[in-house]
Assembly symmetry: C2
Homo-oligomer: 120 residues x 2
């Protein structure tokens, strides 16, 4: 069973967290979505945490999990904090394959998305 965990920073502003959850639902609903489950988790300030999000997938039977950081730049959160949270679960569940996808800002499609946004 394959699952995708979208990881955002988390905000004190609950509407921002809700925006991420709605995005997760939109990803799950895409016709070419090959994941059995899609959910969101937050590095801080919102629930679920990254370990909790991963554990929910594992309890549901996930064998392969992709963690996709919803971050625009490769700062400490992306390079250290998110991997450290993922490692907590990897150590306890070595049979589950958990992979970190590149952070969003690194997407090759980002320039085109930004240009399209300017033209809206």
């Amino acid at each position: 069973m394959k699952a995708l965990l979208i990881v955002a920073h988390g905000s004190r502003r609950e509407a921002s967290n809700e925006e991420v959850r709605a995005l997760g639902e939109a990803v799950a609903a895409l016709p070419d979505n090959a994941y059995d489950r899609v959910a969101c988790a937050f590095l801080e300030l919102a629930e679920p945490s990254i370990p909790d999000g991963l554990l929910q997938f594992i309890e549901a039977g996930a064998t392969e999990i992709t963690v996709a950081p919803y971050f625009l730049s490769a700062g400490r959160h992306v390079s250290e904090d998110i991997p450290a949270e993922v490692d907590k679960v990897r150590m306890k569940h070595p049979r589950v394959r958990i992979e970190l996808a590149p952070y969003l800002g690194a997407s090759d499609a980002m320039p085109a998305l930004l240009l399209a946004q300017g033209q809206r």
Copy 2:
């Protein structure tokens, strides 16, 4: 003359600011880019500021400027701080049309981009 100003938050980590500048160059180089100029500006912590970025365009002859917020959520920066910076220049240059594009996280194409990122 039409110009696009990509506005990011700005970071103490100079590599993150450089990432935004490289993104601006990638947008400028897109074959379907209809802007005569594309540049970046920062809300804080990096240069140029939003007013300075706008003024550089105006000095170069821009008559229409689109400001595209490189932000994932619609927090105070997007709803208040960026518009306030833009207004400073609008008041001094009422003949230049300056429009605010929707912030990046609001893009209809975001779910597909995130899904593609998970599949990389």
